[in-house]
Amino acid sequence: MRIVVCIKQVPATNDAVIDPETKRIVREGVQAILNPFDTYAIEEAVRLRARLGGGEVIAISMGPPRAEAVLREAVALGADRGILLSDRAFGGSDTWATSYVLSQAIRTLGNVDLVICGKQAVDGDTAQVGPGIAAHLDWPQAALVSAVRESSTKRLVVVRMHEDGHDVCELLLPAVLTVVKGINVPRVPSLKGVLTARTSEIPTWTPGTIGADPAKIGLDGSPTRVVRTAPPPPRNKASLRFTGTAEVCAGGLLRELRKRSLL
């Protein structure tokens, strides 16, 4: 079984600086890390490989050259190899163009049975790339997967979350999943894994490598534009404190919630 995990390198800080011209997050000079949700994707892929008695887990990432670091981290965490998709032409891609690039890489790899992504990247927070990949590939998808109940080389039965709770669905492979925190407990990299990852070859693929249509990548391939990026307004920090016995406090809380039409 061949499993592809799509990962992203994201800024390590909550104090994002926005470029006033491009309206995008400034990444140069900022410490970067593996998108936290992607660690769950990598772990799930590695577990599925073990559960299904073998196969290959390939981590791919679209980003600048320094994104190679997160691919090495993926190898340290158990992926068999990594591939970097990096070229100036990819720059400025929105989620649609990004998912197109990733889907082209998946096509180029060939014989891919499953694509797993983290729920969302913590810098963009759109959660659109995984579903976008499925759309480009015309594969079935399940987003916000919290558990894989059954697995074989032909099908998966997964639990996925939605606003009202969760449902259980079956997907025939090949398919795309996005996974949530809590689907597993990501392993800590082993020393062997880290040392192996240091010397792993991480090839860089360009638009030519993946046969990308220039009109579908970068800014040209992005139907959306970032108009404005701003931190959310500060939350109302007012608070109420209830004192007294548990019953008194509970009664006070209940009255307050009803007063605010929250209950």
């Binding site: 407990v185 392993r187 800590v188 990299p189 082993s190 020393l191 062997k192 880290v194 040392l195």
Partner: protein, 272 residues
């Protein structure tokens, strides 16, 4: 453990390289140098397990990767409850394969990045959280006879509570005790030695920065408090001749050669 004390073998704490080390090769080389030095001295290397919640590589994997020898009885691994069950079993199987028999079993310091054993993982049905007691039971149930398991004892905690915990740990399979740092004669340590027949190893604080113990001892130690670790170690040997010594924060460059002559067998005193 008794044989360590009889042979005057210090327990020397060595921290493995951290996961986020920017100079991993140098850190691995430094670990190997310290380890080999401890082995050559006939002492016991005690390798920590994500100490203070800082992600580090595991002792058994560093030993394996660096192809370090494991002379019988000269390696002790700390093992805490912040692992997955799979990882815990990997560690124990690896230790058994490498001939590492001594484990210091502790509850441990967690962090966001570290998973925590759940009661169901270790077959504990009567608790809400896994402590060193449940971990001890699991080790002895699943790996009977493979390991000698030590436990921690904190003389600075409320004594009745700490002795009750020790009793539970002993019932779960503990065969030796290692204390928190001791720097002088301590009534709770005296009580411990009177209360148990198990070998007791006292932690000797080898850093001159005594104030770093403030949190452990529960009162503020001024930063400029003078402290001579080597002299204190000699004092501990005199005060507690039947105890082993666990050396934490030992300076390998400045102190290692000095400890060689600090442990002399007092006449007429038997080990525990």
């Amino acid at each position: 453990m008794k044989e360590h004390i009889e042979k005057r073998a210090y327990h020397v704490e060595i921290l493995p390289p951290k996961q986020d080390s920017a100079k991993l090769d140098a850190d691995l080389a430094g670990f190997a140098e310290k380890y080999r030095r401890v082995m050559a001295s006939g002492y016991c290397a005690c390798i920590t397990d994500n100490a203070m919640g800082h992600l580090a590589f595991q002792g058994h994997e560093v030993i394996e990767e660096l192809k370090l020898a494991v002379p019988p009885g000269q390696v002790m691994i700390h093992l805490n409850t912040f692992h997955t069950r799979e990882n815990l079993d990997e560690i124990l199987v690896a230790c058994r394969r490498q001939g590492i028999r001594h484990l210091l079993v502790i509850s441990g310091d967690g962090s966001d990045r570290l998973p925590k054993l759940q009661p169901a993982d270790v077959g504990a049905t009567d608790v809400e959280a896994v402590t060193s007691v449940e971990l001890l039971r699991y080790i002895h149930r699943k790996y009977p006879g493979d390991f000698e398991t030590g436990v921690a004892f904190n003389p600075y905690e409320p004594p009745e509570h700490e002795f009750a915990k020790l009793a539970r740990k002993c019932a779960a399979g503990a065969t030796f005790v290692i204390t928190q740092p001791v720097i002088a004669k301590h009534p709770v340590v005296d009580r411990l030695l009177a209360a148990t027949k198990l070998p007791v190893v006292l932690e000797a604080w080898m850093s001159k920065k005594l104030h770093l113990l403030s949190q452990a001892v529960g009162y503020e130690i001024p930063e400029d408090t003078p402290f001579d670790p080597i002299a204190t170690l000699r004092l501990l040997h005199q005060l507690y001749p039947a105890c082993g010594m666990y050396l934490s924060l030992l300076g390998f460059k400045t102190q290692y050669d000095l400890i060689r002559d600090t442990w002399s067998v007092p006449s007429g005193k038997e080990t525990r």
